[in-house]
Subunit: 361 residues, 2 copies
């Protein structure tokens, strides 16, 4: 097991990564103060892991409320949020009730937002069961639901008491979903850590084999990178946390244009990261960027490096609606070289359009 | 004008109290960074004060979105919250958009919760237009909406950038609503400040005449008391902030039993405060409590001191469902003497029932 701390003053918490953690009562014991625990999960995860988590929590003498949501991004809605709140109110849950989020990013986001807002905030433990949520969404306290007019538009910054990342859960992930999680790992390396990039290049085979010890090390390293960023810029008010959106402005445009679900988030981020790197190198002075190495690593991890062929004008329109934008200017995260990224708010729409017309043709 | 600061590290903010503040651009100018301001108000307040606030904000070169909710506690719901979010998304509001809450406690609570959750948090200014919201709900960052299964059950702690309390708005308040606000002022004095209690006794006539200079002084003093409490216990995790609920456990039970709206909140708090004082004195060792002075002050401020005649068992049942309770034990705020309160979690239900049977008979 590896443990690291996300340092956020009175909101600091620990991330525990390793094999078999999910079924152990000791994983949860230090973080449950009240008598009741509400476990939020979905219909896919429940048969796989809910019995173990329940047994562990019951052995601590706690009573349990199960809240099982339908699976899928389309259920990251107010309806799911209200289902959690209503179940907890019906069971007379008080402010010491702990919410455990057992599942991927959708469960973490909606259960986290429920924890942030139930009686103005209750204790919360993340048990992420996908690679994407273990390296990305469980670190940093972003919670949200989607609104009919936009993804992640309603939410809160709310930190868990602990994250329990059991690498055994990754064994059952479908291949595309697993690869999609690796896209965020590569992204963290590209933004902040050339040594981590080299570590990933050296461990491609072990990663593709889902080797538990390599995964524990790589997930811990990736979380550490993100935790350092979150520590410096918890609420994304400076430009540091925004760097984590490398590939995401292009990626969200691809996801939106293709319809959610057609491309996995990580796949769109991979193709979006290549676009960001290519734009940085060819149009914005990033001569030092080793684009072939980026494309080679992504390809070897079974990720796409080419955006789908869609109208450049449509992608640009999606990018211009991004949440990071302020007062109408498109914000882009661009690369200087592998291991170093920066925020740019000066790219003219026309230049971006001309680039997209060449790049996605 | 009087100004005081609520000291909460990076969430500190200032409260400005005085005559005519609402129409002045300078009241808002330091707190609006983006280009757009969303003003949230209700159908009663809009014709009275929206034109002045709009003119002030427009003079700063900002664009304005108006969101006018129906008036009343029954609209403190998800529907109203969603109306705010949807209007802001439709207008492409970004994370620099400032929300101004113009109205009483309901508007402050729902607009504050909208600000806490729109794109994970946007800047927020409170412009409270009732005495209750000027001395109580605008201080301390509690935001919430009601849920069909309970009042204020869904919400967040979220601090405004500033509170602008214009005493001129109190001139148009209906008498019962004005008196209801004074109940919270008396409550603050009873809990923390015997000198403030004496100040209130000495200024009964001026308060009943709504004298602007006395009101400015009294509101500032009352806010100062609450701000000191919030500073020590922002998230109500210690027992300090809970003291502010003096009279509220009894009061909420009265409100619930009578049906919301039959009794004003402050009226129920006044009668609840007398019950808490009486229980403290007669049943719980508070021999020093000068109950006649408390009753005399409340009566002179046109507030009730007697609970309605309802079944004691029903009141007890409501009290046992209070949000302050943890693990099933009723939490009561009780008095030692005027100016000193404490939290008690040891009162047996049977004793409370016997007291209620005598007191509300």
């Amino acid at each position: 097991m590896q443990t690291l701390t996300v340092s956020l003053a009175d909101r600091s918490y620990s991330i525990h990564i390793g094999s078999g953690l999910l079924a152990r009562a000791e994983s949860y014991a230090p973080f449950i103060a009240g008598k009741t625990v509400a476990i939020v999960t979905n219909e896919t995860i429940a048969p796989l892991y809910l019995p173990q988590v329940k047994a562990a929590v019951l052995s601590l003498g706690k009573s349990i409320i199960e809240i099982i949501l339908p699976d899928g991004e389309e259920h990251k809605t107010f309806t799911s949020l209200d289902k959690i709140h209503t179940a907890m109110l019906a069971a007379a849950c008080d402010r010491k009730t702990t919410i455990i989020a057992l599942g991927g990013g959708v469960i973490g986001d909606v259960a986290g937002f429920a924890a942030a807002t139930y009686q103005r905030g209750v204790p919360f433990i993340q048990v992420p069961t996908t690679l994407l949520s273990q390296v990305d969404s469980s670190v940093g306290g972003k919670t949200a639901i989607n609104h009919p007019l936009g993804k992640n538009m309603i939410g809160a910054f709310y930190q868990p008491l602990a994250v329990i990342s059991d690498t055994d859960t990754l064994k059952t992930l479908p291949p595309r979903e697993y690869a999609s999680g690796l896209a965020e790992v590569v992204k963290h390396a590209l933004i902040f850590d050339v040594d981590h990039f080299a570590e990933l290049e050296a461990n491609v085979d072990a990663l593709n084999a889902r080797d538990a010890s390599v995964l524990t090390r790589v997930i811990a390293h990736s979380c550490k990178i993100k935790a350092d960023v979150v520590k410096q810029d918890e609420r994304e008010t400076k430009d540091i946390r925004a760097l984590l959106n490398l590939g995401h402005t292009f990626g969200h445009a691809i996801e939106t244009e293709m319809g959610y679900g057609a491309w996995f988030h990580g796949e769109a981020v991979a193709a979006g990261t290549v676009l960001a790197a290519q734009f940085s190198r060819d149009e914005w002075g990033g001569a030092d960027i080793d684009l072939p190495s980026i494309e080679r690593l992504l390809t070897s991890l079974n990720l796409p490096t080419k955006a789908p062929k869609v109208a450049a004008q449509k992608l640009l329109a999606h990018m211009q609606r991004d949440k990071k934008n302020e007062d109408g200017v498109v914000t882009l995260i661009l690369l200087k070289r592998i291991g170093e990224a920066y925020v740019d708010r000066r790219v003219p729409g026309a230049k971006l359009l001309a680039f997209l017309e060449r790049a996605v043709a």
